[in-house]
């Protein structure tokens, strides 16, 4: 009997997402779980109760029924204190949790003595865990939505156009911070036709930025200590910050749209777009601040609001970007949850196994059997670089030419040597061998050369047919047997007859099998 997985309706204001979609329901049921959902949980994300019923999910009338009747509760937002109180002992909760910022909540959950609490925001950033990395899925959506919001508030085209009524220049977009959200924003803005520039303090992401079609703003700064931790940027030094702000100040009058995505885990968002930069921007410009929740990258951002400054610059500080695309974000988040359940249920028997040996599951699990297990022990995100792998030395064009000339010369002298030795040997043979032998020998040597040139031209893919046909052809030895078969000596006759027999097996078998193979080679 599989465990029951329940999905209550989100209670936080403005939260439209839901942790289960009818599509993921089918996949979760395959893992052996029974599903139940609070009535109306998916309405705001365009998933009706009927759609869930059609997918085999039981629809319960209220949240209490879900909380009390489910072995596993899956949510989007962190539970409220009231919701935490509904978690019963021995149950499992999966949702966003932000344990570092919500210590009270964490201890409240612990006190309920649940089987386990898994935080979707704690998925380790290793490649294996990408499929359940909800932060990345949500960041992707936020990045896209940021561009949509910007376009909505921007009074002009993104793409440049030449119309009968005149020329329109393309919009210039600056994306600060090239994480998942930043890259998604670059992609969306690019595909709408804007000129996109991007900056990130990690120089190693330049390649990713350029691969998305944006220009990487390069900051010339020595002695950079901008390592990353868990895929996020670290705070930077004051000198570096000054240089960075100077770069932005330069950009401010030129760009039409600024999208900021810079976050440092566990700290307020760094202020990167100062008041004077906002004032330097053209009227009608738009700033979308994706870091509004953590205080904003722009000095003037108001959390959750859209404001217009004195010089007509729109600053969008919405914190519910993801929720504004509830259908999409629910679908991705539900899929992330489905993958987590997949990992939790290797046996597909509807019994989750919170395996603390598994680095991914260990990372997510913040409470286990009544104990707080956050923070997890450090996980290395990538394989350590190989110890002193010898690098191949790139050769220059001249070295290459010189090497090739040398090789050619060596090959030439080798050929000359071989010819000289071979010629001498042949001459020596000619001195002693009788004429009749030499005649055959000439034929033999010529045939070897012909064979050499012919076979080099055979296609590699036809090597097996080549072997089969040479096999058939080598049965030409039958000619020898035929010449001996009429001997009056019985032994000779019998041996010759046997040879004829064996050679004919080969001839027929060899040619037939070659034909069979060649007939199979077909062009598309």
């Amino acid at each position: 009997m599989g465990m029951k997985v329940g999905i209550p309706r989100e209670t936080v204001d403005g939260e439209k997402r839901v942790a289960l979609t009818p599509e993921t329901a089918g996949r979760i049921q395959k893992l052996g779980y029974d599903l139940q959902i609070e009535s109306g949980a998916g309405v705001e994300a365009n998933f009706s109760d009927e759609a869930y019923r059609a997918a085999g999910v039981e629809v319960l009338p209220d949240a209490d029924a879900v909380w009390s009747g489910s072995d596993i509760v899956m949510k989007v937002q962190q539970p409220t204190m009231a919701e935490a109180g509904k978690l019963e002992a021995g149950r499992t909760l999966i949702s966003f949790l932000w344990p570092a910022q919500n210590e009270d909540l964490l201890s409240a959950l612990k006190d309920r003595n649940p089987h386990a609490v898994l935080a979707m925001d704690q998925v380790p950033r290793i490649s294996r865990a990408q499929k359940l990395d909800a932060l990345s899925s949500m960041a992707n959506i936020a990045g896209y939505r940021a561009v949509v919001e910007a376009a909505n508030n921007f009074g002009r085209f993104f793409t440049g156009q030449v119309t009968a009524a005149g020329k329109v220049p393309p919009a210039k977009v600056l994306v600060i911070g090239a994480g998942v959200a930043g890259l998604a924003a670059i992609g969306a803005a690019r595909s709408m036709g804007a000129i996109v520039r991007s900056f990130d303090i990690r120089p190693e992401v330049a390649e990713q930025i350029e691969s998305m079609g944006a220009e990487f703003l390069f900051l010339d700064f020595e002695d950079q200590d901008t390592g990353t931790s868990g895929g996020y940027a670290k705070p930077s030094s004051p000198e570096f910050r000054e240089k960075q702000l100077a770069l932005f100040r330069e950009q401010a009058p030129d760009v039409d749209i600024v999208i900021t995505t810079a976050l440092i885990p566990g700290r307020p968002a760094p202020e990167l777009w100062t008041e004077d930069m906002v004032r330097a921007m053209k009227p009608g410009s738009v700033i979308v601040d994706l870091a509004a929740e953590q205080g904003g990258n722009c000095a003037l951002t108001v959390k959750g609001e859209r404001i217009v400054t004195e010089n007509d610059v729109v600053i969008v500080g919405y914190t519910d970007m993801v929720s504004r695309m509830a259908a999409q974000s629910s679908q991705l988040y539900a899929t992330n949850l489905r993958h987590l359940l997949d990992d939790l249920t290797p046996e597909k028997d509807g019994q989750p196994n919170v395996d603390m040996e598994d680095t991914v599951i260990r990372g997510c699990t913040v409470v286990k059997d009544g104990e707080v297990t956050y923070p997890p022990p450090a996980v290395s995100t990538s394989v350590a670089p190989k110890a002193a792998a010898p690098k191949k030395v790139e050769e220059t064009a001249e070295q290459k030419a010189a090497r090739e000339a040398e090789e050619l010369r060596r090959a030439g002298s080798r050929t000359t040597m071989l010819l000289a030795v071979g010629g001498a040997l042949l001459l020596a043979l000619g001195m002693v061998a009788p004429e009749s032998f030499m005649q055959h020998f000439i034929v033999f040597v010529l045939a070897c050369f012909v064979g050499f040139y012919v076979i080099w031209n055979v296609a590699h893919s036809l090597h097996t047919p080549l072997m089969a046909i040479t096999n058939a052809v080598s049965s030409i030895i039958i000619v020898g047997a035929l010449l001996q078969i009429s001997s009056t000596n019985t032994v000779v006759m019998v041996l010759a007859a046997l040879s004829v027999l064996m050679a004919s097996v080969n001839i027929f078998g060899g040619f037939l099998v070659t034909r069979r193979m060649l007939a199979m080679f077909q062009k598309s």
């Binding site: 009788p434 012919v454 090597h463 000619v479 078969i485 009429s486």
Partner: protein, 479 residues
């Protein structure tokens, strides 16, 4: 038919054989070229039968009929995965025929010499008549040729049988390493040459029979000492030997057609062996002497990281997401008989507008070109099937690579680790692709016994299980 006409027929047959082999330069020409070979063979046999002095036609007809039916039956029945053992088996027949014909040549020679001594040489016909006319130097050369024909023929015969047994799974494909095996081989060869010398000095038939037996033992031992993945070289080598045996018999009989054809086949096998050895970056001698040369200096690099398993669902998802897919088949594909499943998958992916190709390493499988034939059998069009040089540069632009039962040919340590036993071997650079999935039965190592760092790379995932079962599961999910 007079001798002139017979010789003309031989010339035509020889030209047809050359054309038949030359025609294999591409797939479409090859289908015609095979007919050149068949016509050439018919012409050669008919001309020989019509040669003055060749009789016993009923026996010939019966033998050819029986042999023909046998060969036809085998060729129709054989599975494409069994091609390596079939080719090896066929080689053994040529080898044995060469031994028989060599012994016959000796018997005929004795008869002819006796007739000459008796003064009744005029009554001799066929081969014996030509021998009777030879001078003593020519007879000496004849004996050398005869000795070589029997020696090579016997090695080919037993070697091919062992190769057949190994490829068909009737014998363990592990390399048998007897203590002092090089010394044994050397002593055996020395014994053969001593016997050959005695024979030249006038010793009787027993020397040649002994040579045949000892050479047979050498053939057995040589091939027993060679492991499974070196089989492409071995089969090519035996192919070459069967040619040289035919050429040696041609010298004995003074027959140019045999010499030409034998030389063609010999050259063909030699070149194939060379290509196979290059594909493994090993010298021919080290392959033939068996085992991997332990001459790598210094310790091998440690492999870090973990092998991460994946499952069918994920692979299906990755396939759906990928625009370009490359399959890398190896011997495991043949063992699992998964060529049909991979062909189905190719069709489905192609129908979805994805670019699907195959990358073939020269030594993939147990026979040169083995994978090509398997894929052709499964109706994978040959223009999707690329050679290593053609596809190696495309891996960085490839979204998804699936390795089907291959190991050493995709091992990055051949390039990265100068201390690896396979350092310098050309390999398929699959690790440059975005995602790599390795379908493998277990965590074992490849033939070379070298750990494969590919499996530990960040973009690699292991799909454990039989290749055919995995592919079938993927196909089912794709619907």
């Amino acid at each position: 038919m007079n001798i002139g006409l017979v010789s003309a027929a031989y010339v035509v047959a020889a030209i047809l054989f050359i054309l038949a082999l030359g025609g294999l330069s591409n797939q479409e020409k090859a289908k015609r070229a095979i007919w050149y070979g068949i016509i050439g063979m018919v012409l050669a046999v008919v001309a020989t039968v019509m040669t003055p002095g060749v009789g016993n036609l009923p026996v010939i007809a019966v033998m050819i009929a029986i042999g023909g039916i046998g060969g036809w039956f085998v060729a129709k029945k054989v599975q494409m995965t069994q091609m390596p053992e079939l080719v090896a088996g066929f080689h053994s027949l040529v080898g044995l025929a060469a031994v028989f014909i060599g012994i016959n040549a000796h018997l005929e020679m004795e008869r002819a010499l006796m007739a000459v001594a008796d003064g009744t040489a005029g009554a001799l016909t066929g081969f014996a008549a030509t021998i009777a006319k030879k001078t003593s130097v020519e007879l000496g050369i004849l004996k050398v040729e005869l000795f070589l024909g029997i020696l090579i023929g016997a090695i080919t015969f037993t070697g091919s049988i062992i190769a057949y047994g190994k490829l068909a799974g009737k014998l363990s494909s592990n390399a048998l390493t007897l203590p002092g095996r090089h010394a044994i081989n050397l002593a055996a060869f020395a014994a053969c040459f001593v016997l050959g010398f005695l024979y030249l000095q006038g010793a009787g038939l027993w020397t040649m029979i002994l040579v045949a037996i000892i050479a047979g033992a050498i053939g057995c031992h040589l091939i027993l000492a060679i492991g499974g993945a070196d089989m492409p070289v071995v089969v090519s080598m035996l192919n070459s030997y069967s040619g040289w045996a035919a050429a040696a018999i041609g010298f004995t009989l003074g027959n140019d057609l045999l010499i030409v054809t034998g030389a063609l086949v010999g050259a063909s096998g030699a070149i194939l062996s060379y290509i196979m050895c290059k594909g493994m970056n090993r010298s021919f001698v080290s392959v033939i002497l068996g085992g991997w040369g332990g001459d790598a200096g210094g310790p091998q690099q440690e492999v870090e990281g973990e092998m991460v398993p994946t499952n069918v669902d994920t692979v299906v998802q990755q396939l759906e997401d990928a625009d370009s897919v490359v399959f890398v088949p190896g011997y495991g594909l043949a063992v699992a008989q998964a060529q049909g499943a991979v062909s189905e998958l190719t069709k489905k992916l192609r129908a979805k507008g994805k670019e699907v190709r195959f990358a073939i390493h020269p030594v993939a499988g147990r026979l040169p070109g083995h994978m090509n034939v398997l894929l052709a059998e499964a109706k994978v069009p040959y223009d999707y099937v690329l050679e290593m040089e053609e596809i190696n540069d495309d891996f960085p632009q490839t979204d998804f690579v699936m390795i089907l039962g291959a190991n050493d040919i995709v091992n990055p340590s051949a390039q990265d680790d100068p201390n690896s036993p396979i350092a310098g071997m050309p390999v398929l650079e699959v690790w440059k692709a975005k995602n790599v999935v390795i379908s493998k039965r277990g965590q074992g190592r490849g033939y070379s016994g070298v750990e494969n760092p590919l499996f530990f790379k960040e973009n690699s995932r292991m799909l454990y299980g039989d290749a055919k079962d995995s592919l079938d599961a993927i196909l089912k999910q794709m619907d």
